[in-house]
């Protein structure tokens, strides 16, 4: 019986009685001993975590769209810098500011043209066409004839720039000098006036009537500024008797053009003695003060110089009432004054002749910097008719000669024409026609030799055989010389025509596509004799092809236009994008690796190590990124390496803290514990059990580091601290910032690319996160 006992169990029950239980082996049978049990096979296909995530990602349409855009941009940034034929290392001064072009010229959209409005017309080109409209071209130097398309009829318009064809208008003066203080008296003392050059009128034997009109508020925000006009003239007494100066002797006068602030009286406190002097302008409320103190200066060789100082008004409100009506603030009628009609003026033109008059305008700086003074034509009238409109703003006369040199004016400021009358036209400006179109030009021997060397021309065009046979150029020239002017005989004429035809067809028939000469219109030969040797130099008058001259084989088209250096914006932007992306990926790789290791150590080991490492993180993350970047750039210069170092210094912290949390999360899970119990090493636990689970979350948020690096780089470049020697998106954007108003496409194109890359990266990143961690879905 003892042999049959398999196991004996002993236990004591609550009443201290010991029990023994014997279990016999043959009491038990194996159930299903011969059956084999396996897992049932899945009916569906097995899937991995990655495949599952990918499937989820594909369901998110916006993320897929983001990924596709991202892919296209990435591909573009890799390919375009290599396949684009245009050079962005050397500046192309002739090819600047070409508009974006995709479609052929004339299609009206994205075709490299720019619609120009109100461009002044060169008055010499004005002509009436069959339909009765007047047409005129803009100035050739600025807009060559070949670049002008869809020219509108010329119409009368206004221009605000001094051009040779503009007439009339107002002189717009703005004093840019700063005001020292806002205290009126010190302004009067310290203000830097903008002083016009003295303009001399020759009034010999003429009876003139001078009218200067000062206009207020032509444009909103503009007010008549402080101004003084001094008119000085001489008068020679016809009689020997010098007229006495009656009246107001108390006030010391300023005889010559020096302009003291004499007119101190407020114009609103009107001088009751002054009646309206100007019957033609009855609404001139206030004739201001024309302080006329004729003083005879004996030293000035019998010249009496007299000045009229307009009242300086420093307080804006003084003019406020009159700003609304844009009429004369002040009208000086020279004749009236001279004839003594006003203020008991005693100079009588019948007794005095005036041979010379000078006029000068002084403009004080104003508190309101946007104020300006408008002066209408200064017209000299002879009786009723204006004989010679001496318009200060007549382009030929005044502005064009003086506005270029500030030195001529005693102080800097803006002097421009305002509302000058000119014929203007609208047209479509083909920006590509200027550098690349065909144009008439001369080609000299040196260039021809160059062309022969390049293999574009046959040598025969230049070389003369020793036998005395002519080169192709000589042949034509020789015949022309032969007949020597006059009416050539028909034979000669035919010969010339034939050779000319030969010459032209010689160039047109040339198979070489690179030859810039399109056709030859004439030839000139010069001969030089030295040491008994006669050599010839030729100048061809021909039509050349602009793009061939610049070394292109076909007409270039710039999809995104060119910038101020003549760089292709497409290539520049995508080269910049490549740099930015490269920077982003590199920094991502460095920061991700470092942050992962750092966070893993923190999270896995915890305790004091964690606390110490976390304090270090806290310290670093307290520094704003802009401060770190600035310090690095200032200390190490602005280059690729600096950016990497600066951004990596703090860039890893995000990854590290995320890794740390993930490690905390998975460290104490049951499966990790089980593995640890089974004796797994730390390395195995980290790399086999914790990291794979945490990876999805970590990597998806770390991917968003790339757009943030691109963003930071662009921001830094925008602040003027960008790469000095490399292109990047930020550099491209900040370089073109100044053209925001004039050439907006230079900003728009890189901006669109930048916006696209940021949006698509974010969409892509969010989609990745949702795919890897569906529980977070929707919490963007």
């Amino acid at each position: 019986m003892a042999n049959d006992v398999k196991k004996e169990y002993v236990y004591t029950d609550s009443s201290e009685v010991e029990h023994r239980i014997h279990i016999y082996e043959d009491s038990f049978n194996f159930a299903q001993k011969d059956k084999s049990i396996h897992d049932t096979k899945f009916l569906t296909k097995p899937t991995t975590f990655l495949k599952d995530a990918f499937k989820r990602f594909c369901k998110n349409k916006s993320s897929v769209a983001g990924a596709i855009i991202l892919g296209v941009l990435l591909l573009g940034s890799i390919l375009i810098p290599f396949i684009s034929p245009y050079d962005i290392d050397v500046q192309h001064p002739q090819e600047t500011f070409l508009e974006p072009k995709l479609f052929p010229t004339g299609t009206g959209f994205w075709d490299g043209t720019k619609r120009m409005y109100d461009v002044p017309v060169d008055s010499s080109t004005l002509a009436e066409s069959e339909d009765g409209q007047t047409y005129g071209y803009p100035f050739e130097a600025q807009y060559p004839r070949r670049s002008v398309l869809n020219l509108s009829p010329a119409r009368e318009g206004y221009v605000n720039t001094a051009t040779a064809s503009a007439d009339g208008g107002y002189l717009n003066l703005i004093n840019n000098n700063p005001i020292v203080t806002e205290d009126e008296e010190s302004i009067a003392r310290n203000a830097i006036y903008m002083v016009s050059p003295v303009y001399n009128f020759n009034l010999e034997n003429e009876n003139y009537d001078l009218e200067i009109t000062f206009l207020a508020d032509e444009v909103e925000n503009y007010y008549a500024g402080d101004y003084q006009v001094s008119i000085s003239y001489n008068y020679d007494p016809i009689e020997a008797e010098v007229p006495e100066t009656p009246g107001e002797p108390a006030e010391p006068t300023d005889p010559v053009e020096t302009l003291a602030e004499t007119g101190t009286e407020d114009p609103t406190i009107d001088d009751p003695t002054t009646e309206d002097p100007d019957p033609e302008n009855p609404d001139t409320e206030n004739p201001d003060e024309e302080e006329e103190e004729p003083v005879i200066d004996a030293n000035a060789r019998n010249h009496v110089l007299k000045s009229y100082d307009d009242t300086p008004n420093y307080v804006q409100s003084t003019f406020e009432d009159e700003v609304g009506n844009t009429i004369n603030l002040n009208t000086l009628r020279f004749e009236d004054i001279l004839s003594g009609l006003r203020n008991d003026e005693t100079i009588d033109l019948t007794t005095h002749t005036i041979s010379e008059m000078r006029i000068r305008i002084d403009l004080a700086p104003r508190i309101n910097t946007s104020s300006s003074l408008f002066i209408q034509n200064i017209n000299l009238y002879d009786g009723e008719l204006a004989v010679s409109p001496i318009s200060w703003n007549d382009a030929n006369d005044f502005i064009l000669t003086t506005s270029s040199s500030d030195a001529y004016w005693q102080s800097t400021g803006v002097k421009s024409l305002y509302h000058g009358i000119s014929y203007v036209c609208d047209f479509t400006f083909d920006t590509y026609a200027v550098p690349y179109g065909e144009r008439d030009d001369t080609v000299n021997t040196t260039t021809l030799v160059q062309y022969v060397e390049n293999g574009w021309l046959d040598e025969g065009i230049l070389t003369r055989a020793s036998s005395g046979a002519y080169s192709i150029l000589d042949e034509w020239y020789y015949i022309t010389i032969q007949y020597g002017g006059g009416n050539p005989s028909s034979t000669v004429r035919d010969a010339i025509a034939a050779t000319e035809h030969n010459l032209q067809s010689y160039f047109t028939d040339i198979s070489d596509e690179k030859l810039p000469i399109v056709s030859v219109n004439g030839v000139m030969r010069r001969s030089f004799t030295s040491n008994g040797q006669t050599s010839y130099s030729y100048t061809l008058y021909c039509t050349v092809s602009g793009y061939k001259l610049l070394g292109y084989e076909s007409m270039p088209t710039f999809l995104a236009g060119t910038d101020n250096y003549g760089y292709d914006m497409l290539k520049r932007t995508f080269t910049g994008l490549l740099t930015s992306l490269g920077l982003g990926v590199l920094i991502f790789a460095i920061c991700f690796t470092f942050g992962l290791v750092y966070g893993a150590i923190c999270g896995y080991f915890g305790g004091n190590i964690d606390i110490a490492l976390q304090r270090f993180c806290d310290l670093l993350s307290g520094i704003p990124r802009i401060v770190i970047m600035t310090l690095c750039i200032l200390n190490m210069g602005s280059n690729f390496l600096t950016f990497i170092i600066a951004m990596c210094l703090t860039g890893w912290i995000g990854t590290a803290s995320l890794t740390r949390t993930q490690f905390y999360r998975f460290r104490d899970r049951e499966y990790t514990l089980a593995s640890r119990t089974l004796g797994a090493s730390n390395v195995r636990l980290i790399f086999k059990h914790i990291l794979p689970n945490a990876m999805g979350t970590i990597i998806t948020s770390a991917v968003l580091m790339i757009p943030s690096v691109i963003f930071s780089e662009a921001t830094i470049s925008y602040l003027g601290l960008g790469f000095q020697d490399m292109q990047s998106l930020g550099v491209v954007l900040s370089d073109n910032q100044t053209y925001l108003n004039t050439y907006a496409y230079l900003i728009l194109f890189p901006s669109v690319i930048m916006a696209l890359i940021m949006i698509s990266f974010n969409l892509f990143g969010n989609g990745l996160r949702d795919a890897f961690n569906p529980s977070l879905k929707g919490s963007d």
Binding site: N368, L619, Y664, L719, S751
Partner: protein, 352 residues
Amino acid sequence: MGKYVIKRLVLALITAFLILSVTFMLMRLLPFQIPVGFPVDSLRYFQDQEEQGFVISFTQEMEGYGQLLWTSEGTDLFGGGAEQVYYYQKPIIEQYGNWLANVFTQWNWGTSTSIQVNVSAISIIGNRLPVSMGINIISVLISVPVGIALGIWAALKKNKPTDHIISTIVMVFISVPSFIIISLLIKWLAYDLRVLPFQWPDATSDGATKALGYVIPVVSLCFGSICGYCRFTRAELCEVMSSDYLLLARTKGLTKSQCITRHALRNAMVPIVPSILAEFIGILSGSMILENLYNIPGIGSLFVNSINAKDYNVLMVDMAIFTLISLTASVFLDISYGFIDPRIRMGAKNNG
């Protein structure tokens, strides 16, 4: 809680101290900047620097003190008679010690070398701070309510067209860098339509122009933060709306609006309110890009100006301000969590 607050503050102070120390040393490693202007200004500056203990002067050229910084030689400063002085830089560690002493005893942060020569950096910053603050306050006051309202709206209409439209717009405006938005706003509103000034109106312009000048800066600042608040609010509210206690509240018979106002919003606001408070600290700092593009004389553009003018003393103070603001904001954010939601026990032992 009190212990946690104190701990957090002390830590922030230590962090600020260390960061500023490193910043100071790095700034001192840069080439010494001689002030622009007349020799008299330079002399005044160097005398001041000597007083502060950054440079050392001799009456003759000396060996072993590094590069000669400046000498009054050849400049007739006081009509002759004055002694020629030669200035050399002191060792950086010594300068650091003196700098600490100046800052802690006299609140002297140095003087400007080129922006406003010989004017104390603190007063330059003080002049510019109100401008930055003005713009920021307005934009915070606008963007917080608008952003939160949009977020609530989007969350209530979750996965409906309204939500999709709002979310897409938010997505776009969060992604597009601010300088692009500012550039386009300036181009469109100022250059093309001519309704707004194309740069910050100066002190002499009239009231209407000044008021219009605020539009572009405020709008461009608002875009970003409205989008941020909208996204944040939407995410929080969505999470709360799908929670069990809200379902319980509905089952108990509360109407949907009662549920939202009494339960959902209150809970969703827990993380939002601290971030609003932190943003109010952020109003002290200017937006560099915006101020630079729109010529606003705030402390953000001062940062750029001082880099370009190599005015390192002003730059140092400006950077110190940015650092302090960001530190204060983060401390404030952490602490205010505990005050707003008593359930959150800061500093309690947590295991992940």
